[in-house]
């Protein structure tokens, strides 16, 4: 295996870690409109307050890593996705400060609730739009983006944006099932049920629509016998969905989130399979985009030691803050 491929896998892992972890942070905010009670919202925020910052750092690693090891892809994708990237950044600003500001004020609490919800909505929507824009292809001439200003904006990309919003809501709901009790938990079970069904509909639509409009993707998925192995993905996805719905029905607490993560992993793998070996779909492959070998090696030496260390202390943090969040404990202080 060459360095470019190793890095493509590592960056994919970083981006998936971001989606899996910040996904439930964003999802919790997206569920806020259905949880109107202030105490419920306090608890919801406090289930992620100690970890959201670390979760978001995976996004910085994804972006920074892309710049470091695939600079050409970074320099083409960022201008191509200019508006959704800026929108995402602004959304993350409003989302991030809400964690601190919300507990600093009583009078303006509503404003920071709104900032939390809309910031997360814009960030999640933008991420979905970027995903869709990559699937529909990006126009490149030489080493530069040569498409239009609004190429990223199509009904398909908007649909992908909505799908990611729904997916994050599902992750948020299953996370809350694990971390809360009582009414809040009961409502989370229900939210988990609805969002799962909606999400499956979205994934099904994208999976059927893409091969229909894109020859490259159709070939990848329907060339016999090379693609037979890929058919495991939709089958496994069906298994995960059933597992998730059943665990919700049986009122299991930890499993729904894990099943949900499994669904995300499969959909994400489907995305990766659909664009491989391109980093900028249909223009630049990961080998063309790769930085010189000594850049890849230099960062890899560190990453080999640092990534396991990061996993270890991140795991420790989650361990420290394990268990349910009690609504009444906050009032003692």
């Amino acid at each position: 295996m060459d360095y470019a491929l190793i890095w493509a896998i590592l960056i994919s892992v970083a981006v998936f870690a971001y989606v899996a972890l910040d996904g439930f942070d964003l999802g919790i905010a997206l569920l806020f409109p259905w949880f109107k009670k202030e105490e419920d919202r306090d608890v919801m925020m406090n289930t992620v307050a100690p970890v959201w910052d670390g979760n978001e750092t995976w996004l910085v690693l994804g972006g920074g890593g892309l710049l470091a090891v695939f600079p050409l892809a970074y320099s083409v994708l960022m201008p191509a996705l200019y508006m959704p990237v800026i929108a995402m950044l602004l959304g993350l600003i409003f989302r991030g400060v809400a964690f601190e500001y919300r507990f600093k004020t009583k009078r303006a609490k509503g404003i920071w609730d709104l900032s939390f919800i809309t910031g997360s909505l814009i960030a999640a929507m933008s991420q979905g739009i970027m995903l869709g824009a990559m699937l529909q292809g990006i126009q490149v001439t030489g080493r530069e983006y040569s498409g239009g200003w609004f190429d990223w904006l199509t009904p398909f990309t908007l649909f992908c944006g909505m799908a990611v919003v729904i997916g994050y809501m599902m992750l948020g709901a299953t996370w809350l099932v694990m971390k809360t009790r009582g009414d809040l938990q009961r409502q989370s079970y229900r939210a988990g049920w609805y969002t799962t069904i909606l999400l499956v509909a979205c994934i099904a639509f994208v999976s059927l629509y893409l091969p229909y409009v894109d020859m490259f993707i159709a070939e990848r998925w329907f060339t016999y016998p090379a693609s037979v192995g890929l058919w495991a993905l939709p089958i496994l996805l069906a298994v995960m969905t059933i597992g998730l719905l059943r665990s919700l029905h049986r009122k299991q607490e930890g499993r729904p989130y894990l099943w949900g993560l499994g669904m995300f992993l499969l959909a994400y793998t489907g995305f990766a399979v659909s664009i491989f070996p391109y980093l900028v779909p249909r223009s630049i492959t990961l080998w063309e985009a790769a930085a010189p070998d000594n850049s890849l090696k230099f960062l890899l030496v560190g990453a080999m030691f640092l990534l396991p260390t990061i996993f270890a202390y991140t795991g420790y943090t989650y361990w420290v803050f394990r268990g349910k969040v009690d609504p009444d404990s906050g009032y003692h202080d």
Partner: protein
């Protein structure tokens, strides 16, 4: 209004605006994180409750500032791609891994232990909690290490070759990371962060002392801050001088702009004031001390000092901006040294907390570190123009192929959002600072059932 500017100008303005905002937060959090580690360490050693009070007081201020630093920092990383894509492609193989290491060694460390530092007091025990605080402080310093390495490489590129697709590629990573200006820049920035926070802490202490000079927590703050000022401010002058000499060696045009030297001359004057005129290449309304620049820069009154006339005009930085920013930075530095000396004198007389003029002066000096940091940043970044990689890649050749409307639109969005969001954050921080540190209550953690994260709910009843 935007018809007068081109996309390049707007992209530069956007970068300048977002980074000027961003740099405030790291320079604050680097200092406060270290301060918190010292406070918690002192508490564990002495068991004097005032240290724990101060820790709990400042950790909340830290949390708000850290949040703002994180969100404004993410913008910086992605903006390199959106507005400076040619730079990303060409320089990515060199500075990308440095930034990658910043994420792997610093950001995760800070973020991972921040949760325990802010919410974990009743979960992990005090030694582990101190460890978490220490890790956050170490993380902020490591972050400065990498980002200043990347910035310094752009100022004094070393250890690279150009590859066949026109990218900078590393030849020797050690030379890249420890490029010629890096040690000076890192030392100067870290000291700037410590000084900035020393004066903020000093001002908060002074504010509460002016209301009640027996306030024990305020006395402790003021005393600690003034010790820092006394020791570190003169040290910073020394480091700044070394940094200047290094800049003269590697970026003589920048130093010429800082000094307002359009002409190469022996016995070069030091301009105290004046209006550098880029058109006529003269300093108008000059107030100068003959020979002093030669003494400062070459340590010899008769030495010849390089002027901008040694460089083609298209390689000149905007002289007036650099000239003035430099004077502001140095001016604040002198005031900091004065504050340190004055407090030392009052301390010797045993009247550190009684002199109202000193307390008011310290209050005035509270935000001055930020002024110096931003001015210093302007000196170093505007002074290296028109280059983004010094002498090798022009800023004008580094921009993205995007149209003006996009940059203008995002610029307006950033300006509006930053003023709203960071305005609110500053308000919350100032309100925290107005709270009396002596009235910080220390909960009895032993009595708490292990519950998650909820400790900080309603920490402000407003």
């Amino acid at each position: 209004m935007f018809e007068y500017f081109d996309a390049l100008f707007l992209a530069r303005f956007q970068f300048a605006f977002t980074i000027a905002f961003h740099i405030i937060f790291p320079s604050f959090t680097i200092g406060v994180a270290s301060f918190l580690a010292v406070l918690e360490g002192l508490y564990l050693k002495t068991r004097n409750p005032v240290y724990q009070q101060l820790f709990r007081y400042w950790v909340k201020i830290f949390a708000v500032a850290f949040g703002m630093g994180v969100v404004s920092g993410i913008v910086m990383g992605y903006q390199i791609g959106t507005n400076w894509s040619v730079f990303s492609d060409k320089a990515g193989p060199v500075i990308g891994p440095l930034m990658g290491y910043e994420v792997l060694t610093a950001f995760f460390l800070e973020a991972g232990f921040l949760g325990i530092m802010l919410f974990g007091m009743n979960k992990v025990g005090e030694k582990l909690h101190f460890f978490a605080t220490l890790m956050v402080a170490v993380g902020t310093a490591i972050s400065a290490f990498w980002i200043l390495s990347a910035n310094s490489w752009m100022q004094t590129p070393a250890g690279y070759i150009m590859n066949d697709v026109g990218q900078f590629a590393a030849k020797d990573w050690f030379e890249v990371v420890f490029n010629p200006s890096f040690p000076y820049r890192l030392a100067h920035m870290l000291l700037a962060a410590y000084l900035t926070v020393a004066f903020v802490v000093g001002a908060v202490g002074a504010w509460h002392l002016l209301k009640d000079k027996t306030n024990a927590a305020a006395r402790k703050m003021f005393s600690m801050a003034m010790w820092m000022a006394l020791i570190v401010a003169p040290l910073q002058v020394l480091v700044g001088d070394f940094h200047g000499l290094n800049t003269q060696e590697h970026q003589p045009a920048k130093v010429a702009a800082m000094e307002g030297h359009f002409h190469t001359e022996a016995r070069a004057p030091l301009y105290l004031f004046g209006m550098p005129n880029q058109e006529t290449a003269e300093v108008d309304y000059a107030l100068k001390v003959p020979g002093l620049a030669s003494i400062i820069l070459k340590h010899d009154i008769d030495a010849e000092v390089t002027g901008l006339d040694q460089f083609p005009r298209e390689d000149w930085p905007p002289v007036a901006t650099v000239f003035w920013a430099f004077r502001i930075m140095v001016g604040v530095g002198i005031l900091m040294v004065l504050a340190g000396l004055w407090s030392g004198f009052q301390r010797l007389r045993g009247k550190l907390y009684d002199n109202k003029t000193l307390l008011r002066f310290s209050l005035f000096m509270g935000p001055m570190g930020f002024v110096a940091v931003i001015a210093g940043w302007i000196v170093t970044e505007v002074g290296r123009q028109p280059w983004v990689v010094y002498g090798l890649l022009r800023t004008a050749d580094a921009a993205s192929p995007i149209d003006k409307a996009g940059v203008a639109g995002s610029l307006i969005a950033f300006i509006v959002v930053y003023f709203l969001v960071f305005g609110a954050g500053t308000f919350y921080i100032l309100r925290k600072m107005a709270g009396n540190p002596e009235q910080v209550t220390i909960p009895d953690y032993a009595k708490h059932k292990p519950t998650m994260a909820a400790e900080r709910i309603y920490d402000e009843e407003v």
